[in-house]
């Protein structure tokens, strides 16, 4: 059936093209129909809209449009699973999935920004929990606080205590986190470490010593990719050097970016960069992570979506790859989370609230996360649903100190993060610690809490 439709399509393209060309041919008289054909052609979209809109809305009593960037692979499958839960619980509400993909949501964010500007907000949308949402949407009074919903649904009891302040502003909670990813994971190749008699490092100094050994043995110690993965490494090394409390201080303005602690962190980062593969800037995070499982590099620092990737490559946990917190961050869980919001003036506020209830529920999160390859934001999900890595992450999530990720929108608002990104890009090129610190101070003053 598809084949038929497709060939018909091709034939019609050719016919239309032929028609145009014939119309533009030497016989001048035929040009006139071509000119009038134009308005006729514009009507075609209207005429064929019916086949395009297969899920034609039949003016349902209630509906909800949910905007996300989950369009591919496990994310899309997870979203579909959660939509099924939603439809089972709210059969009267029609669900409209307005997902737009593109590099960690950058296209989606542009689309969302234009829609909000034009006064056409979706009923609920996805955003990274934390300052990315707060700094942008709460600051613009676009979001409603969800404290009552949290109380009614009993979520405060099942989500880690240290998480709540990170997704709140002035005591108000503004989003419902669906999943949790961990940013401070160091992936390693067990065979390479064993061959070089290296035990998994737990402090930054051990890590550097291990990487010196590897370098001397001719092994690439640390795999890294394009610039955002360099920022990811930056935030984890800062956390490893400063510890959770001082790391948080960087983001609330109590620890100075030009102070000695920050300087030590940046120096460590600079040193870590000397162990990195020479082609880093030409690799995606996938390419870089693959270096570890292929035995071309010993370590890689990447969020735990890398684990989903390793599985899709057919690799076995603990044999082909191992994991540990980034050295210096043992006992700390640096998280990022996809969450959903309730906009002020949502066209279908009831539908949006219903969606949020599902997104925060045990059933919803248990449907979504095993498929997506992340853990629940709730601490009461059934571990049996998850693989061996995610089980360990779940244990850490409920017991560790929780801090937020920079690269993935938790600790800094968008403008601040953009400024840091620019400063980091310049640092990668010139490696000048003082200039970098100065630029970070400026960034914190321009867009962060620093005075």
């Amino acid at each position: 059936m598809y084949a038929k439709k497709f060939s018909f399509t091709l034939v019609s393209v050719l016919l239309l093209a032929a028609f145009v060309l014939a119309a533009c041919g030497p016989a001048a008289v035929t040009e006139v129909p071509a000119a009038t054909a134009a308005p006729a052609a514009t009507e075609v979209p209207a005429a064929t809209e019916a086949p395009a809109a297969t899920e034609a809305p039949v003016v349902a009593p209630s509906k909800v449009e949910v905007f996300s960037w989950w369009t591919g692979g496990g994310e899309a499958a997870g979203l579909d699973a959660m939509i099924k839960v939603f439809q089972a619980q709210y059969p009267d509400i029609e669900f409209s999935n307005a997902a737009v993909a593109g590099g960690a949501g950058t296209n989606a964010r542009a689309v969302l920004a234009t829609r909000l500007q034009a006064g056409d907000p979706p009923d609920s949308w996805q955003g990274h929990a934390g300052q990315e949402l707060i700094g942008t949407y709460v600051a613009a009074n676009q979001l409603q606080p969800l404290n009552d919903l949290y109380k009614a649904e009993g979520w405060l009891a099942v989500m880690p205590e240290t998480l709540i302040p990170l997704i709140s502003q002035n005591g108000n909670i503004y989003s419902v986190p669906v999943n949790i990813h961990r940013a401070n994971v160091m992936w390693y190749n067990p065979e390479l470490l064993a061959d070089n008699n290296i035990t998994v490092p737990t402090t930054i100094d051990e890590w550097f010593t291990a990487m010196d050994t590897l370098k001397a043995a001719g092994v690439t110690p640390l795999a890294m990719g394009e610039q955002w993965t360099a920022m990811h490494l930056f935030e984890t090394v800062m956390l490893g050097t400063l510890g959770a409390e001082k790391y948080n201080g960087l983001w609330d303005g109590s620890v100075a970016w030009d102070g000695p602690e920050a300087k030590q962190g940046i120096e460590n980062y600079k040193k870590a960069l000397t162990y990195v593969n020479s082609d880093a800037s030409s690799l995606t995070w996938q390419d870089a992570a693959q270096l570890v499982v292929n035995g071309d590099a010993a370590f890689n620092v990447m969020g735990d979506w890398a684990e989903g990737y390793f599985r899709e490559l057919g690799k076995t946990p603990n044999t082909d790859y191992g994991w540990a917190p980034v050295p210096g961050t043992v006992g700390v869980f640096q998280f990022l989370s996809d969450s959903f919001v309730l906009p002020v003036g949502a066209p279908n506020a009831d539908g949006a609230t219903a969606w949020l209830k599902v997104a925060g529920s045990k059933a919803g999160q248990e449907a979504f996360n095993p498929v997506k390859g992340s853990i629940c934001a709730r601490t009461d999900c059934d571990p049996a649903l998850f693989g061996v890595y995610l089980q360990s992450a779940m244990a850490d999530w409920s017991s560790n100190v929780v801090v937020g990720s920079l690269t993935h929108g938790v600790v800094a608002n968008d403008s601040w993060k953009t400024d840091i990104n620019t400063a980091l890009g310049l640092f990668l090129a010139d490696q000048n610690v003082e200039t970098f610190q100065a630029a970070l101070v400026t960034a914190c003053k321009a867009s962060g809490p620093c005075k």
């Binding site: 598809y2 439709k5 497709f6 399509t9 091709l10 019609s12 393209v13 050719l14 239309l16 093209a17 145009v20 060309l21 533009c24 030497p26 001048a28 040009e31 000119a35 054909a37 134009a38 052609a41 514009t42 075609v44 979209p45 209207a46 064929t48 809209e49 395009a52 297969t54 960037w69 989950w70 369009t71 591919g72 692979g73 496990g74 994310e75 899309a76 409209s96 999935n97 307005a98 737009v100 993909a101 593109g102 949501g105 542009a110 689309v111 234009t114 829609r115 500007q117 034009a118 006064g119 056409d120 690799l283 996938q286 693959q290 292929n294 979506w305 989903g308 990737y309 899709e312 490559l313």
Partner: protein, 280 residues
């Protein structure tokens, strides 16, 4: 038809040596194509920088089937958008080009650069007023608005191409027609239009390709119901893990209609050759 031998007598056998640089160029153009095709057949775990040159271990059409299933629902949107957009903007360009190249009125020399300048506007920076304006004229969300955007932002490039093509046509031809009493429209229909086939080919190729491959306007101006194929293609990638094998297969499928248009329109270059004989 013996078109191939009409220009230079066949005796110059050595000119076939010119095929050598062409074959070399062909290799340059085909190497990336090779990678796309080979990767499109690979399984996900075979896609690795180390083995990009290797053939897939088995020829499986899974990726194509997956991509095909995800793309076809949006195919009609693309066609319904691209065909009118390409045709209307080509016609507008031809008319504008003709007037601006051949029928000077006061201000014509100012209007041309002003229209041309529109090409350089960075589209990313005008998305917000564009969406607001489209909403205000009730053209937001569907295909007509997208067609309108492609037509309007296509005007500079089509006008430029036709204007500069018409500028190469000898003045004597037009003046002869004028002496014969032809007015503006007649001159256009009888003299210039028949000579414009190569230009129409070039402009249609451009407009078809750029509207077909456009992602930015499509994603901000249309609702999911009206998404063209590029948005669907982009949506095949997740935000974190990207299956390049399926992406390659999908983009080759999405490129097929454009390729067919090229092959089809390419024949008209030969028509242009015949039309050229009219001049001089």
């Amino acid at each position: 038809m013996n078109l191939f031998q009409s220009r230079v007598p066949f005796r110059f056998q050595w000119r076939y040596l010119l095929l050598l640089p062409l074959l070399f160029m062909t290799a340059f153009y085909l190497i990336p194509m090779y990678l796309m095709i080979v990767t499109g057949f690979k399984a996900f775990d075979e896609v690795s920088l180390k083995t990009i040159w290797q053939l897939p271990s088995s020829i499986a059409f899974d990726n194509y089937i997956e991509a095909y299933a995800k793309l076809t629902p949006y195919l009609w949107n693309s066609i319904n958008m691209v065909v009118p957009a390409a045709i209307i903007s080509s016609i507008l360009g031809s008319v504008n080009g003709f007037v601006l190249a051949r029928w000077k009125f006061r201000g014509a020399d100012v209007i041309f650069p002003l229209i041309l300048f529109g090409m350089f506007i960075p589209y990313q920076s005008i998305l917000i007023p564009l969406v607001e304006f489209m909403r205000s004229i009730n053209m937001y969300g569907g295909l007509p608005g997208l067609v309108l955007a492609h037509v309007i932002y296509g005007i500079p490039i089509t006008t430029l191409t036709f204007r500069n093509y018409y500028a190469t046509i000898p003045k004597e031809l037009i003046e002869a027609a004028r002496i014969d009493g032809a007015d503006l429209l007649k001159t256009y229909f009888y003299i210039l239009l028949p000579l414009s086939i190569p230009s129409f080919v070039v402009v249609l190729i451009w407009q078809f390709t750029s509207a077909w491959n456009d992602f930015l306007f499509a994603v901000v101006l249309t609702n999911p119901d009206a998404w063209p194929i590029t948005v669907a293609l982009n949506n095949m990638a997740g935000s974190q893990i990207i299956a390049w094998n399926v992406q390659m297969a999908g983009s080759l499928l999405a490129a097929l209609p454009t390729l067919l248009v090229y092959i089809f329109l390419g024949r008209y270059f030969l028509r242009g050759l015949m039309a050229g004989a009219l001049k001089g």
